[in-house]
């Protein structure tokens, strides 16, 4: 009973991510029954300043909460706030129904460095599950450390790699001082914190795609009044134009080994899919249909490409094998299936599934063709899997704004990331990187 009340309360709360700098807020729009009760005791601070430069425990709490898999105990309900593992009285937590407990501390070290320590306990067995000590070089790295703590806890308890210490790229549109649209390619932490513009333009920006090492983005710009494709190192800012043919230059997608780019060109007629060798820039035409062939994505093995085509009348997903150019249709359910994205394990394809008035995110099991609609809004687009396959981030419309949302692959947990100003769209979750 107590747990039910606590959970209802939690679902009503909106977590502000980070401080005033954060541009996104997260609200869980639909929770999950059976989320794991956990308590994260506020990390104690040992240092000259009155308080820690960053509330690491609060970030961990927010991370675990927004995954939908955990139900963190509100701080005010805690009967004790130990930070030393030897001081933990497990009975204090058992009575609250807490199954797992996290305690930790942040200590100021020499030269502006920090030491962050935490321990994760199994409350009912009164035993330590895991724990770690991090040396952190500077204040601005503490947030990353907090996400790493969340990843360790998530993996220890769910036996699945966490995706908190990852990044998301997306496109924003907001009016400039003169009221004209300003487009921006942003990269933020997966919780929406710390967005940084890697490109600004007065012309539309589209279709960001991560390199497999997570260092580069490919994207489409309309600089100069026509489309072209660039790749850009997001850390160095260096960019290179790889395609600027007459007509469409669109939908870039890196091969899993990073050596090739699938892209869409209409220079030879209708939009078709080409493969570019990124070293030699040599192009190979992959599809030749009279319809629109677009939105290529590579299979995990890099031996086939899934794409959207209206060769059969309406847009549907197809797969072409690179070696023999054999094409098979993948989707048969519904009028409109487009913008495929493959799960990291290659077993599922997520897509935009529409019927003329409602466009929602669906996943299909590639083994048996079973389709499941995950969202219930009406203008959903651009699905992208978290690198651990647990969630799909996508764009939708809410109260006349373009917003980013995420849904668990089983459709049970949904969260919305709300940008404070302007519209956000085309989110792409970065790979783990190398």
């Amino acid at each position: 009973m107590l747990k039910v009340i606590l959970r209802s309360f939690l679902l009503l709360m909106t977590f502000w991510v980070g401080n005033a700098q954060a541009a996104l807020t997260i609200e869980i729009t639909q929770g999950v029954k059976g989320a794991m009760p956990i308590a994260i005791v506020p990390f104690t601070w040992e240092g000259p300043a009155p308080q820690a430069p960053l509330d690491v425990g609060a970030i961990v709490t927010t991370d675990l909460y927004r995954s939908g898999r955990f139900s963190p105990l509100p701080e005010r309900d805690m009967l004790a706030r130990p930070s030393d593992p030897s001081k933990v009285n497990f009975q204090n937590w058992r009575v609250l129904g807490v199954e797992n407990l996290v305690v930790g501390k942040i200590r100021a070290a020499a030269n502006g460095q920090f030491v962050v320590q935490f321990v994760l306990f199994d409350v009912f067995r009164s035993s330590q599950i895991t724990g770690q000590t991090f040396k952190v070089g500077k204040v601005s790295d503490l947030r990353k450390t907090a996400h790493q703590v969340s990843d360790i806890i998530y993996e220890a308890l769910l036996d699945e790699r966490g995706a908190f210490d990852t990044k998301v790229a997306y496109v924003t549109q907001s009016p400039d001082a003169a009221g004209k649209p300003r487009y921006s390619l942003q990269v933020a932490d997966a919780d929406g914190y710390g967005p940084q513009a890697v490109l600004n333009s007065n012309e539309p920006l589209m279709s960001p795609s991560w390199s497999p090492d997570g260092r580069k983005l490919a994207y489409v710009t309309f600089e100069g009044g026509r489309s072209s494709i660039y790749t850009q190192d997001i850390y160095l800012g260096k960019r290179e134009k790889i395609s600027g043919f007459r007509g469409i230059n669109g939908a870039p997608a890196w091969s899993p080994d990073g050596t090739r780019m699938a892209l869409v060109l209409s220079k030879d007629g209708s939009p078709d899919i080409y493969i570019m060798n990124l070293l030699t820039k040599k192009l190979t035409r992959l599809t030749k249909s009279y319809g629109i062939d677009t939105e290529p994505v590579w299979t995990r093995a890099g031996d086939a490409i899934v794409f959207t085509s209206d060769r059969g009348g309406k847009p549907q997903l197809y797969q072409i094998t690179l070696s023999n150019r054999q094409v098979k249709r993948l989707t048969f359910e519904g009028d409109y299936n487009a913008r495929a994205t493959l799960s990291p394990d290659g077993r599922m394809v997520a897509m935009v599934h529409g019927n003329g008035n409602r466009y929602r995110i669906a996943v299909m099991d590639l083994e048996n063709g079973a389709m499941q609609v995950l969202t219930d809004t009406r203008l959903d687009e651009s699905p992208s899997f978290a690198p651990n396959g647990s969630m799909i981030i996508y764009a939708t419309e809410s109260q006349n704004k373009g917003v980013l949302s995420a849904v668990s692959v089983d459709g049970r947990v949904r969260q919305r990331l709300v940008l404070q100003e302007g519209d956000a769209r085309e989110p792409v979750w970065a790979p783990y990187g190398k």
């Binding site: 539309p204 007459r246 220079k267 030749k288 009279y290 959207t308 409109y336 913008r339």
Partner: protein, 197 residues
């Protein structure tokens, strides 16, 4: 049957003949707005659902008098009177379609005539889509609409080199709403003269 109706729509007989002469389907898609055409052999044009059929199927809404008006005077881009068809610079489309609606035939004919009379004039055709569905597919749809208008202009006397098709898909909506009222304004091709003569 369709050709007969078309004859009524395409007022200028010379244009009509030219249209017939270039009728084979694979000139339709590769002709305008692209520079290749090498690969377009696989029945390229007939697939788009535009071209001759569009004019024909909707010809009943047209009157002969519309046509004779167009051919009777030299049109100017600088004449801002509402009667000047050249002042109509946006062509609207049905959902998920790239077929030019009959109501725009005389507008397109007027622009085609202007381009034919002013060989130095050049035009950018910006294709757009409403926001529904995926963005890159909508880029394809916007280009298909631009090509559809370009093809009609070409059949009526505009030269290929005068026409440049660019698709913005759903990226540049004319109306920012999220309902049919906005969507129908966003499914469009904008005619932009980059050189007036």
């Amino acid at each position: 049957m369709n050709i007969l109706k078309k004859a009524l729509v395409l007022v200028v007989p010379v244009m009509f003949l030219a249209g017939c002469a270039t009728a084979p389907t694979d000139t339709m898609d590769d002709g305008l707005g692209t520079d290749g055409g090498v690969e377009s052999s696989a029945g390229a044009g007939s697939s788009t659902g535009t071209g001759f059929g569009s004019g024909g199927s909707s010809a009943q809404t047209m009157g002969l008098s519309d046509g004779s008006d167009i051919s009777s005077s030299a049109l100017s881009l600088n004449d801002s009177s509402p009667a000047n068809l050249l002042n109509t610079r946006v062509i609207y489309f049905d959902f998920d379609r790239s077929k030019v609606r009959a109501e725009f035939n005389d507008v397109i004919a007027a622009h085609a005539e202007y381009l034919a009379n002013n060989p130095g004039a050049e035009m950018k055709l910006e294709g757009h889509a409403d926001e529904r569905g995926s963005r890159e597919y909508n880029i394809g749809l916007g280009e298909r609409r631009g090509n559809s208008v370009a093809r009609h202009l070409g059949l009526q006397g505009a030269a290929r080199g005068q026409l440049d098709v660019v698709s913005y898909g759903e990226e540049r909506p004319a109306s920012m709403g999220h309902d049919e009222t906005s969507w129908e304004l966003n499914r469009r091709v904008e005619i932009i003269y980059t050189k007036e003569q």
